[in-house]
């Protein structure tokens, strides 16, 4: 199948890009296209205009923040998954990001797809929205009325739906740093290497606090608090707070079993990292 016709603009500045979006309620931003182009080709989406942001300067950045700002890494909208995954700075400051990115699609897709695009696309089966939510990160967006920061827990409003306005462009995502003495873990089960996961889990252990985020379990990224739960009850305690869904890929019962297994594993690896350092 081929996409339906659309107009195309490739602005050279952020303000031009925002102006192009403002006039067109059915316009869409084109970043890496690794989610959008399949939707267009299958005609699940038919925007009137695509605003290609690949020509915007200064958005392919990966910066370590600190010195007055909250410590962490700020990933620009045109940083490709591959660049973020390969960044030593990211690995050092927040190791959960590369742990999860290694399971995002295949290397070829990661060469083009952007990490910010994946966060904004808001697929509940995607890794990065869960990572951002678990870590308490945020997205910086710019629109006609200026810049604002959307905390991750206000970002995901429904399946494939984020609170980024149709006339706003996400310019960066912010992942808070791993605190000293804290640990993270990530694991997922997919039918084939590189496929979307049937269930995935990310854990963050900081002192007494134990939290686990899940992908492909509900229709939005979901984080549960497991602080104080005994090791052999982690899986059941997580399930008590979740309602795994049935779909063509897996039954709810099978997903529940994966939640049990993965919760235990990721909490254990996060605790190990917390104990031993990364």
């Amino acid at each position: 199948m081929k996409p339906a016709p659309f107009d195309y603009r490739r602005p050279g500045t952020l303000s031009e890009a925002i102006a192009a979006l403002a006039g067109e309620p059915d316009a869409k931003v084109l970043a890496g296209g690794q989610s959008l182009v399949p939707l267009l080709s299958m005609r699940l989406a038919a925007p009137s205009l695509l605003v290609d942001i690949n020509g915007l300067p200064g958005l392919d950045t990966i910066e370590v923040t600190g010195e007055g700002d909250e410590p962490g890494v700020r990933v620009g909208a045109l940083a490709r998954h591959a660049a973020v995954l390969a960044s030593d700075d990211v690995r050092r400051v927040q190791p959960l990001v590369p742990l999860a990115l290694a399971d995002v699609a295949h290397a070829t897709i990661r060469n083009r797809g952007t990490t910010v695009g994946s966060i904004v696309h808001a697929d509940a089966a995607a890794e990065m929205p869960v990572v951002l939510t678990l870590l308490g990160g945020s997205v910086e967006v710019e629109g006609p009325s200026g810049r604002r920061t959307i905390p991750a827990d206000e970002l995901y409003v429904g399946p494939l739906e984020s609170s980024v306005g149709h006339d706003e462009i996400a310019v960066a995502a912010f992942f808070p740093a791993l605190r000293p003495g804290a640990g993270v873990g990530f694991e997922e089960i997919a039918r084939r290497h590189g496929d979307y996961a049937l269930v995935g889990a990310a854990a963050l252990v900081e002192g007494e606090s134990v939290r686990v985020g899940f992908l492909s379990v509900s229709d939005v990224p979901t984080v549960v608090d497991l602080s104080g739960v005994a090791d052999d009850e982690l899986g059941d305690a997580a399930l008590a707070q979740l309602e795994p869904m049935d779909d063509i890929h897996a039954t709810a019962a099978y997903r529940s079993q994966l939640v049990r297994v993965l919760t235990t594993r990721v909490v254990r690896s996060a605790q190990e990292m917390a104990r031993e350092g990364m």
Binding site: M1, D7, G33, Q34, S41
Partner: protein, 193 residues
């Protein structure tokens, strides 16, 4: 309503071409239909199979997931650009021939481009790394064993071209993996024997 057309300059295998295309023209279609470079194959047209993989500024990408209008700013390499300067087969192509790495050949262009870039990044892949290098490409014919073998053979050939010690000539029956490798590979494809 007549559709707006864009004049796009595509640089493919070192040659610049001018095409006039609607914005929705997939890069894979521009290569095949507008430029006649039919070496790039289209299987699934949604990013899954890898047949359409080309190199964009040296990095493998799906040409079915890019628009021709967005590709104007890049150096593109298709399978037609993988031969040696004298027209003989490039190392990855030669390795596929040596190892019987293709049957119908539909998936092959995507494997050749992916492996070419993969070996530039990692010239001496281990067996596992060779398998990982091609994990994003599907082949319905070969069962992958000989493609993995071809990755390893291509690494040898490319190494020789770069002045490393010469490769062993292909062993008789080299298309077969040693039996312990075969067990491991069969088990992990999940497809059974």
């Amino acid at each position: 309503m007549s559709e707006e057309l864009h004049d796009v300059r595509l640089t493919v295998n070192g040659t610049t071409h001018e095409v006039r295309v609607p914005a929705r023209r997939l890069l894979s279609d521009a290569l095949r239909h507008d430029l006649g470079l039919t070496g790039t194959h289209v299987g699934c047209e949604h990013g899954v199979c890898g047949a359409c993989t080309i190199l964009v500024d040296g990095a493998p990408m799906r040409s079915c997931l890019m628009f021709a209008v967005s590709a104007a700013y890049h150096e593109l390499t298709t399978v037609e650009g993988l031969a040696n300067d004298d027209g003989s087969l490039g190392p990855v192509q030669q390795a596929f021939m040596d190892c019987h790495g293709l049957q119908c050949g539909f998936c092959t262009p995507g494997f050749l481009t992916t492996i070419t870039a993969g070996l530039r990044q990692n010239p001496h892949p281990t067996h596992d790394e060779a398998r990982d290098m091609i994990a994003g490409n599907l082949c319905r014919c070969t069962g992958y064993q000989n493609i993995v073998k071809a990755v390893e053979r291509a690494a040898e050939l490319a190494g020789t071209a770069a002045g490393e010690s010469p490769p062993e000539p292909p062993r008789p029956g080299s298309a077969q993996l040693p039996s312990e490798d075969r067990d491991e590979d069969t088990a992990s494809t999940g497809l059974g024997a």
